[in-house]
């Protein structure tokens, strides 16, 4: 709010000679900008509204006429169906704890590695970093059959351990790459000063680096969370009992041999997006708050 005034005042000071003309143009410019921003906002929020409508349609309607029409007779039954058939409650719970645990593990491990690579000096740091970068390039489907064999011999098939480990391992490279981009822009002075003061590495990492990177951690947490929440290849392959399946696999419950119940799938999708939307809104504020806190301290 106050920023807008600084913006415009900066503009006015710059354009003192043609004051009226410039500010007029400025207004048009801003109007145009907001028009584009608004349009983009509509495009971006539309999928959510569409999904909501989708979840209230019958199969016949889903594939009928305009996909943009309102449901003629809202099928709240889709939600009942989604909630009662199958074990969606169990899936829901599994999705939550598996996601939270994997995200926490990934972020802490990735921070360790990024810290060691960017802040500490050792010969093999380049090689280690390279290993993570290359790991990002490996297509998931190339690994799935060997992975199954390995988990099978380790007796981890149909155990959530295989899922948590897979999520962590496969998200580490991406997380490290993003963290790396940020770590390099963070000032090293504080850490260097701490070294001078004789702080231990752990202390520097946990007391200085980690808190300083909270905004970035929130960013990577959001990304990791979304990936884990929506993942289904691993769950589908490594888990067979209902006890450990997650929400994405719950969608399978409505895919039939010949008939698919799209309305119920829509309802399941809506149910599954609620928690992640809330978590997202929460974490998204952390990015900004963290920045603010950081700058106050700095």
């Amino acid at each position: 709010m106050s920023e807008v005034s600084t913006q415009s005042s900066a503009a006015t000071t710059l354009s003192a000679p043609h004051k009226t003309k410039k500010s007029y143009l400025n207004k048009i410019g801003f109007g145009f900008l907001y028009l584009i921003l608004g349009l983009f906002a509509v495009i971006q929020i539309y999928p959510l509204i569409w999904l909501l409508f989708f979840s209230l349609k019958t199969n016949q309607e889903v594939f009928g006429m305009s996909p943009f029409s309102l449901p003629q007779d809202p099928q709240w039954g889709n939600y009942t169906k989604a909630w009662t058939s199958g074990n969606i409650g169990v899936y829901f719970f599994n999705s939550v704890w598996i996601t939270v645990l994997s995200v926490a593990l990934t972020i802490i491990l990735a921070s360790f590695v990024t810290f060691a690579v960017t802040r500490m000096s050792w010969k093999l740091s380049g090689l280690v970093l390279g290993l993570f970068l290359v790991a990002y390039m490996i297509p998931l489907h190339s690994t799935i059959i060997p992975l199954f064999n390995m988990y099978n011999s380790a007796n981890l098939i149909d155990s959530p351990v295989s899922i948590v480990l897979s999520y962590t391992a496969f998200n580490l490279p991406l997380t490290i790459m993003i963290l790396l981009g940020f770590y390099r822009t963070f000032p090293r002075e504080i850490e260097e000063a701490a070294v001078m003061d004789g702080c231990s590495v752990h202390r520097i990492f946990f007391r200085i680096t980690l808190p300083m990177t909270v905004p970035v951690l929130s960013t990577t947490a959001i990304i990791n969370m979304i990936y884990n929440w929506n993942e289904f290849v691993f769950v589908n392959t490594f888990i067979s009992s209902d006890n450990w399946k997650t929400l994405t696999v719950g969608i399978n419950n409505f895919v039939g041999q010949y008939l698919t119940d799209w309305g119920a799938i829509g309802a399941t999708l809506v149910i599954s997006i609620v928690p992640i939307l809330l978590a997202f809104l929460f974490l998204s504020d952390k990015i900004v708050e963290g920045m603010a806190a950081g700058s106050v301290k700095g």
């Binding site: 971006q44 569409w50 009928g64 590695v113 050792w122 297509p139 998931l140 190339s142 496969f170 994405t248």
Partner: protein, 292 residues
């Protein structure tokens, strides 16, 4: 002097857990997969060792190179789209009125699973009832395209949702990066009379160039191994028109019972991605040196 910061014990403690995870869960499987590439194996019965046959076939396989070309196109478009996302993030991070709300809205599609996104876009592209053609009809277009059914445009049509799907991802990263630029520098520039554009171009962009470089890498490698929406929405069709490397690999390994050959394709994909990463880091090296 920096004794503490080169303590071997700490370095091992910090890197080994993660390293161990990716070595066992990513590297061992990919090495095994490379080994399957030397086999004639349908994924069901006995394996037969056939040496380099699969890899030789791969080099001569037109379909593989077509799909590689398609993957490269996707990589180029994805990389180009980064500029748009960067522009949006610059606006969002410039603290204009309502930016907080806008940012949240912009990131919403990122939360949707591929299943939902595929359904949405299949409906947008429906030739008779879909929104794309309804819009075109409103503007008086008579011969509306058949989108995913037209081999000439299917590939480009499918790029739209793929690229759009990642909008939130990159905007989020850029936004965080821009918010990370210390306010003092910007304030100082303002006092010196710099315009918003000048601030963006001369101050903000150089400061986030490191992150921009990372996102280029992510976009290129991510595109080269991209699979989800293409597999669901076109299955690589019509008639291979939208086949990309990963969908081709999946098809050979899981659908056509050529597990050995599928593994070879996966290995080819990895080699190509490696080469591209090396190329990108070469190309962006000079900037990097200035930065750090």
């Amino acid at each position: 002097m920096k004794n503490v910061m080169s303590n071997k014990y700490v370095i091992a403690l910090y890197t080994l857990p993660a390293l161990l995870l990716i070595l066992t869960l990513i590297y061992i499987p990919i090495v095994l997969s490379g080994y399957y590439g030397f086999m004639d194996w349908d994924g069901i019965g006995e394996m037969t060792f056939i040496g380099l046959d699969n890899y030789i076939t791969l080099i001569q396989d037109k379909l593989f190179w077509t799909s590689t070309y398609h993957s490269f196109l996707l990589a180029i478009f994805s990389t180009a789209s980064l500029l748009l996302y960067l522009a949006i993030s610059l606006v969002l991070a410039s603290k204009i009125k309502g930016s907080d709300l806008l940012r949240k809205i912009y990131l919403i599609p990122m939360l949707l699973s591929s299943v939902a996104i595929a359904q949405l876009w299949m409906k947008i592209f429906d030739p008779t009832n879909g929104m794309a053609n309804k819009l075109l009809e409103m503007f008086g277009v008579e011969n509306t395209p058949i989108w995913l059914a037209d081999p000439d445009i299917a590939l480009y049509a499918i790029f739209i949702p793929v690229i759009w799907q990642f909008a939130g991802f990159y905007i989020l990263i850029y936004y965080a990066a821009l918010k990370n630029v210390p306010d003092e520098i910007i304030e100082a520039a303002k006092i010196d009379g710099a315009s918003s554009l000048q601030i963006a171009y001369k101050i903000k962009l150089p400061l986030i160039s490191g992150i921009f470089k990372v996102t280029i890498m992510l976009a290129v490698v991510g595109s080269l191994k991209y699979f989800d929406l293409i597999y669901v929405m076109t299955g690589g069709g019509p008639n291979g028109a939208s086949e990309v490397m990963a969908s081709y690999m999946y098809k050979e390994a899981f659908k056509l019972n050529n597990f050995g050959y599928g593994s070879a394709i996966g290995f080819g994909l990895l080699v190509i991605a490696l080469f591209m990463t090396w190329l990108i880091s070469k190309l962006t090296k000079s900037k990097d040196d200035v930065q750090f």
